[in-house]
């Protein structure tokens, strides 16, 4: 399991770095917009998704042991939730790092099949591919959404999301690594099909969220993810280069 261990090691470092970078960007770019949207959510009162229900006063008087209990009590029907403020931020950072490692594992494993990411520049291109697969393609049908926005059934949207990711990844892989016209046509078909089928849409698009706020959020999510993927790919390239000593070239397989 030598290879497996090396892949996990590289992915852990790259995921940690890119996850921390993403968490910092989110703290400034996306989370403030989510908090703004939750104000509309609570004003509307329609949706029962209230994180902000934990009274701010408890945070100042009680220590961390009491604060989650308060939050849990106020959101009983939705189970445990982190208290607003530091705890909520800390869990977001944790989620960023853990999934950063997850994305990195996928990126490193897949790129090893194609000869590996030799240096930071190749890493940037692999990162752009990851961005296209995991953010751009699913984001076309299911744009980033704010709390209190209408959406179709969760499970159906998740299935569409995963299917789109898989089809786009397969399509890009065929274009990049197979030098055949029929396969390239098949690849384009694969990439386009999920959007012809169409993402599950809500019955009504009515929402209390102003369109300007939503648009801002879509831009913020897309740009932060772009930077995340470029950083992730570049760090994988650098760490792997250190690991192997020599930078192997992708040129042979990349045509």
């Amino acid at each position: 399991m030598n290879l497996f261990r090396n892949v996990v090691f590289i992915a852990a470092i790259a995921g940690l770095v890119a996850g921390v970078v993403l968490a910092c960007m989110q703290a400034y770019a996306t989370v403030p917009l989510i908090l703004k949207a939750e104000v509309y959510e609570q004003a509307g009162g329609g949706h029962s998704h209230d994180h902000a229900a934990a009274p701010a006063a408890t945070g100042t008087t009680a220590m961390s042991t009491a604060a989650p209990a308060e939050a849990a009590a106020s959101a009983e029907d939705e189970g445990w939730a982190p208290a607003d403020g530091f705890e909520r931020f800390a869990f977001s950072v944790l989620a960023n790092i853990v999934t950063g490692v997850g994305f990195a594992l996928i990126l490193v494993a897949v790129s090893e099949f194609a000869g590996g990411i030799g240096n930071w520049r190749q890493g940037v291109f692999w990162g752009l591919a990851g961005f296209a697969v995991f953010t751009l393609a699913p984001g076309l049908g299911l744009p980033p959404e704010l709390p209190a926005m209408p959406a179709a059934d969760l499970t159906q949207r998740q299935i569409w999301w995963w299917a789109t990711v898989a089809a786009t990844a397969a399509g890009l892989g065929l274009i990049a690594f197979r030098k055949s016209l029929p396969l390239a046509i098949l690849a384009v078909a694969l990439i386009v099909t999920p959007h012809i089928v169409g993402a599950p849409q809500p019955g009504s698009y009515e929402t209390a969220i102003p369109e300007g706020l939503h648009h801002q959020f879509v831009v913020a999510v897309t740009v932060t993810n772009l930077v995340f993927w470029v950083v992730l790919g570049a760090v994988v390239g650098v760490v792997r280069g250190r690991f192997t000593g020599t930078a192997t070239s992708l040129r042979d397989s990349f045509a």
């Binding site: 939705e78 996928i106 990126l107 969760l154």
Partner: protein, 59 residues
Amino acid sequence: MTAASVSLGASVSSQSRFMQLALAALLGVFVMGFVGFSHIDAVHNAAHDYRHSMAFPCH
């Protein structure tokens, strides 16, 4: 790290190589799926801002 001179696992057989890489990718999918897509309320609430910020289907 003994054999990692050119690629990450130059010495392992191609079948073992495939298995190990597939396993690593599967682990990554599992980690992502749990944090970003699990329907467990506590997991959803803990990673709520993250899910929205990544445009994962949420709620």
